[in-house]
């Protein structure tokens, strides 16, 4: 049970997520320096339910996590996830929760990131109203710039965003 842990990783990465496509490594290839954008594959809640869009979905204050499966052909990229509520409604608001996934010992094109939802819903949002929940996926650490507060990314960084309607509810007694 103690040998070949790396190959197990490869076996599982392949069997569970599909083929591993290595990034272009030849510097003569004009595409070699291109940064490929990350992409969402699926977003599921703690119970394994896919967060279908546009919702609405219920988030319980103070509990739960999201399992976000993402893909980036640049397997060596660290991927950053940032979550926002009601950004720009009416004003830009800071990130509510953040997580990231580094390439790991055996970089794979697809990765599943577990992101706690603590901090996303708070009691003041448990008001019965629909809220706009956004998740940014970036392959560079996001910056706050005057052009886009709290969620900008500088070239060659790329970003993908999804949004849902959610309601925040308090824990049942």
């Amino acid at each position: 049970m103690v040998q070949g842990l790396h190959v197990i990783a490869v076996v599982l990465a392949v069997a569970l997520t599909g083929c591993v496509i290595p990034p272009p490594l030849n510097t003569d290839d004009p595409d070699a320096a291109v940064n490929h954008p990350p992409a969402f594959r699926s977003v599921k809640d703690s119970a394994g339910d896919e967060l279908t869009r546009p919702g609405p979905h219920e988030f319980v204050v103070g509990v739960g996590d999201l399992r976000i499966t993402v893909a980036d052909t640049d397997a060596q990229d660290t991927l950053y996830v940032r979550m926002f509520i009601d950004y720009g409604v009416p004003v830009p608001t800071p990130v509510r929760a953040a997580c990231e996934a580094s390439p790991g010992a055996t970089p794979t094109v697809e990765r599943t990131i577990t992101c706690p939802l603590l901090g996303v819903c708070t009691d003041d949002l448990a008001d019965g109203a629909l809220h706009v929940f956004e998740v940014d996926l970036l392959d560079r650490e996001p910056q706050s710039t005057p052009a886009r507060l709290y969620r900008d990314v500088t070239a060659p960084g790329e970003i993908a965003s999804y949004w849902w309607n959610i309601t925040c509810v308090r824990s049942p007694s």
């Binding site: 070949g4 591993v20 790991g104 901090g119």
Partner: protein, 600 residues
């Protein structure tokens, strides 16, 4: 795959594993890796391990296990989330449940209907019954101690119609759901009330048996006809000291504590709007005997952050009487400067920090001025319009400042302030590091694992209700381990004077063969280093089957370990008992989910 499992699936799993290996390019650094095993003789065969696709499967940890299996989104109409309270794991690592060598999802049945109330007075174009929009939630009790209560939600449209997929009852079994309906706060039309003004949130039980199932797969019809007249009515009136102070348009609701330990409140009444005389009538369901009544200013006053008046511990009866709402005068613009220090010790303005301003000021007679509002610092400054003074005295506010997740700066909580016109500056301390290294059971570094530090459950349970709410709103800090398995994560050292400890969860990166593990109650300190040793792992796999669909690709499997420990103040939210998620997996194209379980 177990020899006891269906041999066809076993062969198929092996084929896909080998096919995937031979049909795809290998990962860049895999050339010199060797398989864990070539034959079962390479594994711990005496413990039951078997070799398949280069992996030793089996030798599972001791313990009692349960599972929650969820179908992929595309099959939610035909299959439903299923809790399996008695998961078996054979020596060769095969997961099963309910006596099968597979994890079976319950088939779904569609339940549909219409939500109505009798036509209320004053609502135009209503004949017989009025459909109400809102949200329905169907919840089943936890299937195992400490497990989650599985629930399904359904939006109720403006015409009152809803549709939801629930588990098809087994023969001879009555499934009981707790159904809650929360009416919508969107008005029925121009100058019309909202459903939330006509009906208080209501809870009923819904029973389903196999006898209820219509032939041919048609939906089970369950119309939900609620009657506001069956709910209690409590009247009252707000009064104000100055004759020309407006009393119309104030919003009144009744609340109860939803979770006594954590201080969260839940609206249990209709939303009443005061008339020109300040009068209101609340409807409440039978049940709550003691409520808080919250009187909030009209929406036109909300921009001024005008506080509400909370009347505590009102005995539910026919009338609450008069509620004196104080006249606060003219609001003032106030500014809060937020400062921190950078790594060189220089003072910096903190941008993007959330500033939470609270007021809870007793007025006598069980009344209190109550406010909780938040804003964000821009150029290091938070600006709000507040009421600094009442009856000649400065009102005592408290402020929390929460830097953005990932900031080097720590939050400041419960800073008591008054706004007397002088500049107000809040300085944030720097966060404290949790420094450590993650290694596996052989002492080798675990590279690229995510390390998440969340306020420890043990600490949460020692905090006051209000502080627990704050702690639960704190986004956990997360970093990943470097090539030596080392990490540094910065966290807050205290919460309003209470030292914080952290539960640190290590999640190996995708494809990493180590298990997820949580290290409880680690105290942050700059001069100590945590050596986090992950336990050994056992490889298990289970075939996920739909009732008549065969293997279910894309199904999610969560394996829980059932513990004899007493539930904590947080874990008890899910029900009695304690169950901890030990591993998760997703079924591949052949319906096989691989779950790595820690074997401490």
């Amino acid at each position: 795959m177990s020899r006891r499992a269906t041999s066809g699936w076993a062969a198929a799993v092996a084929v896909i594993g080998l096919g995937a290996l031979t049909g795809c390019l290998p990962a860049a650094n895999s050339a010199d890796d060797t398989p864990q095993c070539a034959t079962t003789a390479d594994c711990n065969a005496t413990a039951g391990e078997v070799c398949d696709v280069g992996v030793c499967w089996g030798d599972p940890p001791a313990g009692r296990f349960a599972a929650v299996v969820a179908p992929p989104a595309g099959q939610r109409g035909t299959l439903v989330k299923t809790a399996i309270p008695d998961v078996t794991i054979t020596a060769d690592g095969t997961l099963g449940g309910n006596g099968d060598q597979a994890l079976s999802l319950d088939p779904a049945v569609t339940v549909a209907g219409v939500v109505t109330i009798p036509c209320p007075a004053g609502v135009a174009a209503c004949a017989g019954a009025l459909p109400l929009a809102g949200q329905l939630r169907f919840t089943r009790p936890a299937a195992f101690p400490g497990g989650p209560r599985l629930s399904e939600s359904a939006e109720v449209a403006a015409d009152g119609s809803y549709q939801v997929a629930l588990a098809r009852p087994r023969v001879g079994v009555t499934d009981t759901y707790a159904v809650t309906f929360t009416p919508s706060s969107t008005p029925l039309g121009p100058n019309q009330p909202s459903p939330a003004m006509l009906l208080a949130p209501v809870a009923v039980d819904l029973e389903l048996t196999r006898d209820d199932m219509p032939p041919g797969g048609d939906p089970v019809v369950r119309d939900l006809a609620f009657d506001p007249a069956s709910q209690k009515v409590m009247t009252g009136q707000i009064v104000r000291a100055l004759p020309d102070s407006p009393v119309a348009g104030w919003q009144v609701v009744a609340e109860v504590l939803a979770t006594s330990g954590l201080g969260a409140r839940q609206v249990v009444s209709t939303t009443a709007i005061t008339d020109d005389a300040g009068a209101f009538a609340l409807r409440l369901p039978n049940g709550p005997a003691l409520v808080d009544v919250l009187v909030s200013p009209p929406p036109s006053a909300s921009a001024d952050h005008r506080p509400s008046v909370r009347v505590r511990d009102v005995v539910v009866g026919d009338s609450i009487g008069a509620i004196d709402v104080p006249v606060l005068g003219v609001p003032e613009q106030v500014s809060i400067e937020v400062r921190g220090t950078d790594t060189a010790g220089a003072t910096i303005a903190v941008d993007g920090a959330t500033v939470v301003v609270r007021l809870e000021h007793a007025l006598g007679g069980g009344r209190a001025l109550s406010l909780e509002t938040r804003t964000t610092t821009v150029n290091g400054t938070a600006s709000l319009t507040l009421f600094p003074v009442w009856a000649g005295n400065s009102l005592p506010y408290s402020i929390d400042v929460l830097p953005a997740p990932g900031s080097d700066l720590a939050a400041r909580y419960d800073t008591a302030v008054t706004f007397d016109g002088s500049a107000l500056t809040i300085a944030l301390p720097r966060r404290i590091p949790v420094v450590g290294r993650v290694v596996d059971f052989r002492g080798l570094p675990v590279i690229g694992a995510s390390v998440t530090a969340a306020v420890a459950t043990a600490t949460l349970c020692t905090l006051s209700s209000d502080d627990s709410r704050i702690a639960l709103a704190m986004a956990p800090a997360q970093v990943t381990t470097d090539t030596k398995g080392e990490f540094t994560v910065f966290v807050d050292g205290d919460l309003a004077g209470t030292r914080l400890t952290y539960d640190v969860t290590v999640r190996p990166s995708d494809g990493d063969p180590h298990p997820t593990w949580m290290f409880p109650s680690i105290a942050p300190a700059a001069d100590t280093r945590a050596e986090l040793t992950l336990p050994d792992a056992a490889w298990t796999r289970g075939l996920v089957l739909g009732a008549s669909q065969g293997p279910v690709a894309g199904a999610s499997v969560s394996i829980y370990e059932l513990l004899d420990e007493a539930p904590t103040c947080v874990s008890s939210l899910g029900g009695p008992g304690l169950a901890v998620v030990r591993g998760r997996g997703e079924a591949d194209e052949l319906g096989t989910a691989v779950v790595v379980l820690p074997r401490p």
